[in-house]
Symmetry: C2
Subunit: 388 residues, 2 copies
């Protein structure tokens, strides 16, 4: 236990982002065990800040860093959806990071950076680079407050939301992860789950969004079915229409129009989810986030020792080039993030692979393994309707 | 002579882009010498098209492929700026390609792809990949006609142009090149020169745009001065205010706001140039295009055998990641191109390096060679005012 926290402590830094001078970094001292466990009304004096911990059943000990919102506040407002969401994403982050770390040598751990945003809120960015199994893996949470500029309000109106003129106070909490394994036989996974609140005409509008999608380098139909089946089962526990609807949404969203290709073989994707009620929508999102490990980790386990050669590695790098194209040209989250003043671009761009490649007019033979992947990227399949 | 044309012939294909099925490729037979030399009124029957060549002093023989506009038309309308521009960019393309090829083994030549656009016009894309000196080099021309959609008209109005409501007929001809050398001691160069005409209320609006800019991986002040001095001398032959104005424009344009860095050490950049008159503006643009070789090729010659190691290569790949960020997120030409239906994305994306890299939170020491580059990318310098 002490060892685990010590491990975290060694890797855990807090950065404060200033709009004026982003490169100025302040490391806050952090006291380890005590600050993470909220079991009594105690004040821990650290070098730069005080942690007020109140009576609670929050098991903050398992988190990788101190939550962005104070434990005191989270404890006091445990029934507020903002607190629930922050605590949930912290837990999912810790579980996923530990699951990924279990594939690597004991001495290779995620770097844990806790950062604060001058305008309100912050995040916890966990990155592992140059591992044996994972070439680059990022698992980030962020909890951000502020006021929505008029342009963002207009975008939301265009999506059908009834809103006053901006600026409007908002809260957003989410988890986002992209895992690029080294072995081209293991697919890349991305997931993102988020909760949004806007104060609008003295009432609160809220919604959830998110999704999980898979980007293989070589098509393995059994993997595709396992992945989609796991997501489908999660969806079916809540609404029998969800999987088909969110699967199509995913295929439509992760599209690279100039190439006429999808980024990968899809998964689920949804936004503006505010039905049937807040608690039930939360339960669904939590279940989706919990289904990431069973949908993906078995594929890592299955393929981590698969053989591959130079040609497969080159193909993987080319496909990663396509990943970069999607993320930098079309992904709304990346664009929105990078255009936001004071954005922590290092956290946003963690989704980019360690290495990518672009060759002019690279066109694999239709009958090759590479060509078979291209075929399903051009024409998304309903994996669960294919008879095996 | 015959050998040279044979060489071209072997590498030269024509593609026709269909919006519906981009991947369908038709190779047109091309007859080599005859089609390129317009010396008499002759009809050459080839497999798929006829070439009408009229009496002219156009030396089409030196071009790398048949111009997009027929030689007959170009010959008949030699005094039209559209023809002048197309002939000039064809000449510049051939000269630059040959200059770059002279650094490579005799058996490594640019691949020459001539492509036609269903909506009107086409281009000639020349690419060399995996050379000894050049890792990836693209030198493209395009000559495109069509009608400007209302959205493009609005953008042009926002830039101060007086225009009717769209759609308006337009013509655009340009040359664009990006050269990524293998040795990190040789900078990457980009240049682009273009001419635009819009038919508007029965009159023609026209303007020129373009620029040349340098992206070194390691700062060499002597190189920076040589490069900027060459551009300054070219500018000074036309207008003593051009260099300073276009140098600033370049620093402002090739900016990566989320990183607070310029893409490189600049050069010149301008748009909407329609003074003092059409011929003089053309002369300036032609001089700029002609100054690319003297501004850049001596740097290739000087550094092609410089020693470097793993660390320098890794740094080069990281900087190429920044190049990709600028081109895919901020570059107006790339975005405009990729969002255009029927765009030849392989030609647009030739600007991307063969390989690029992204590392989380990579920050070189301020006092290192890498740190010294970052310093000038953050704070652009007036190279010609530095005393040596």
């Amino acid at each position: 236990m002490v060892f685990k926290v010590l491990r975290n402590w060694k890797h855990f830094h807090t950065y404060i982002i200033s709009e004026k001078k982003r490169s100025s970094i302040y490391k806050l001292k952090y006291i380890g065990v005590g600050a993470l466990v909220a079991t009594g009304v105690t004040v821990y004096n650290t070098c730069d800040f005080n942690v007020y911990a109140a009576k609670s059943d929050i098991n903050a000990q398992e988190f990788l860093a101190e939550p962005i919102t104070s434990l005191e506040h989270l404890t006091k407002h445990q029934n507020d959806m903002k607190s629930k969401m922050e605590l949930m994403i912290m837990k999912i982050q810790a579980e996923f990071v530990k699951s990924l770390e279990s594939f690597e040598d004991d001495n290779l751990k995620f770097k844990v950076d806790r950062w604060l945003r001058k305008e309100g809120g912050g995040g916890i960015t966990c990155i592992l680079q140059d591992g044996t199994v994972f070439e680059k893996a990022g698992v980030n949470t962020s909890v951000v407050t502020g006021t929505l500029p008029q342009s963002a309000v207009q975008q939301m109106r265009a999506r059908g939301k009834h809103m006053d003129d901006g600026p409007l106070p908002f809260f957003a909490a989410g988890i986002s992860a992209v895992i690029h394994p080294r072995n081209p036989m293991i697919p890349t996974i991305h997931f993102n789950y988020r909760y949004f609140e806007v104060v609008n005409n003295n009432s609160i509008q809220w919604w959830f969004g998110g999704g999980t999608d898979l980007t293989p380098y070589y098509l393995n139909e059994e993997d595709a079915k396992h992945f989609h089946r796991t997501l489908q089962e999660t969806c079916n526990n809540y609404d029998p229409t969800y999987y088909a609807k969110f699967k199509k949404w995913c295929d439509d969203y992760f599209n690279i129009p100039h190439r006429g290709e999808r980024r990968g073989i899809g998964g689920i994707f949804f936004d503006d989810l505010d039905t049937p009620d807040q608690q039930e929508a939360y339960n669904f999102v939590e279940s989706c986030a919990k289904s990431v490990i069973p949908s993906y980790i078995p594929l890592v386990e299955k393929h981590k020792n698969d053989g591959y050669g130079y040609a497969e590695r080159q193909w993987q790098l080319l496909r990663r080039g396509r990943y970069v194209e999607f993320n930098l040209i079309y992904d709304r989250g990346t664009k929105f993030g990078l255009y936001t003043p004071g954005a922590r671009y290092e956290s946003i761009l963690m989704s980019l692979p360690l290495t990518a490649r672009w060759e002019y007019m690279h066109q694999p033979d239709e009958d090759s393994k590479e060509g078979r992947l291209i075929e399903v990227l051009r024409n998304p399949k309903n994996w669960l309707e294919i008879k095996s």
